[in-house]
Amino acid sequence: MQNTRSMEIAVGLFVAGGLAALFMLAMQVSNLSANISSKSYEVTAAFQNIGGLKVRSPVTVSGVRVGRVEAIDYDTKGYEAVVTLRIDDKYDTFPEDTSASIFTAGLLGEQYISLQPGGSETDLKSGDRIHLTQSALVLEQIIGQFLYNVASKESK
């Protein structure tokens, strides 16, 4: 009888340990704790060029992460990329004339959206569109412009 008991205790420990490992993977390793607050609202922003922005890229204000990119679509009428941003309900007081820019973390890092609050009295509501946007910097374009400038200076 004692034997069965210690065996059952060992099995209980094994199962508890396995579940604890799963729990640890979910809480400590994955992003579950980051998006645990389920309440959020969506706004959209149209960009000429989104560069390497991806779904789930971060959305930040002054470097603080306030949300993530929910969806990326292409508007065939306006010829623009339409990005849907999902922002945490905690941060629901952005002015209407907030602007959105796409920046790169580090020289070769991933791209993210940075919001700069404007000065309007009315706040952004769910479903609103951010009108002031700045596209991603594309390295090839900058190098192209630089070379063009150098060439035009030399020809003077």
Binding site: T4, M7, E8, A10, V11, L13, F14, V15, G17, G18, L19, A20, A21, L22, M24, L25, A26, Q28, V29, S30, N31, L32, S33, A34, R56, P58
Partner: protein, 260 residues
């Protein structure tokens, strides 16, 4: 005379399909025996002990070392790009997506699957199974189903333990020995590892592997030629076939889950 090789080929194919068919019928009988186990959970607990608890040690030790090696190798590669803060991402993603389920399943096949096959095969060779039938005890329900269920339940737990321990192994080498920043290690990991995409898919993989590994182990034992040589062959086949099935299935599952 000239038809001999052809005949051998035909016989081999027919044998193969016959075995495959028997394996599937066997699986159906096994699954049919599982509901009856709800009334006798003790049978399953005894098997969970020998299949799960006794496999724990090798899983823990291998998990720590695999995680440590990942930490070391990942660091050496990433430090060239000044990206050693991403070490946590590398360790966690490789473990959760691939190494956790696959290596745990291979160890499981070697440690628990072979034991299951040998046990059932020897029961058959010593006519214990026929003895049970004589006493109107169904060996499928009494012997095979609890072992199958225990293997199927243990595998996801073992894989999760392997991954979790491996992450700490990588943490120990990366942060403890090589000086990666503690906060960056965890925060980058949490930013890049997704609960659904990575962790759930890893768990699904380990559930599938557990099903296949347990199925092959009990079937090979039950189907073994009842001699000492037959049992030894069946045990070898269990390990080889399980390893092949897991690696093949892993590719298919990876292509389905992370393919696009």
């Amino acid at each position: 005379m000239i038809l001999d090789p052809l005949q051998r080929l035909g016989k081999a194919s027919l044998d193969f399909f016959e075995r495959l068919g028997r394996g599937h019928l066997f699986l159906m009988y096994t699954l049919a025996g599982i509901p009856g186990l709800l009334l006798r959970p003790r049978l399953v607990i005894a098997q969970l002990y020998s299949v799960g608890v006794l496999t724990l040690l090798i899983i823990l030790v291998s998990g720590v070392f695999v995680g440590m090696v990942l930490g070391l190798q990942g660091y050496n590669t990433l430090v060239d790009f000044g990206a050693e803060e991403s070490l946590g991402v590398v360790v966690a993603l490789s473990l959760v997506r691939e190494l956790g389920p696959v290596v745990a399943a291979l160890l499981f096949a070697g440690r628990a699957g072979s034991a299951l096959t040998a046990e059932i095969g020897l029961m058959k060779a010593t006519e214990q199974l026929s003895g049970m039938e004589m006493m109107a005890v169904d060996p499928m329900k009494r012997v095979v189903a609890p072992r199958f269920l225990a293997g199927f339940l243990s595998m996801p737990l073992l894989a999760a333990i392997f991954s979790a321990v491996g992450v700490y192994g990588g943490y120990f080498v990366g942060v403890g020995l090589l000086g990666v920043d503690d906060g960056a290690f965890w925060s980058q990991m949490q930013a890049k590892v997704d609960l659904h995409e990575d962790i759930f898919n890893g768990v699904i993989k380990s559930v599938v592997f557990g099903f296949v590994a347990a199925w092959i182990a009990v079937f090979e034992g039950y189907d073994a030629v009842p001699t000492s040589e037959g049992v030894s062959r069946a045990t070898t086949r269990t390990v080889v076939h399980t390893a092949l099935a897991i690696l093949g299935l892993d590719f298919v599952l990876t292509a389905l889950m992370f393919g696009d």
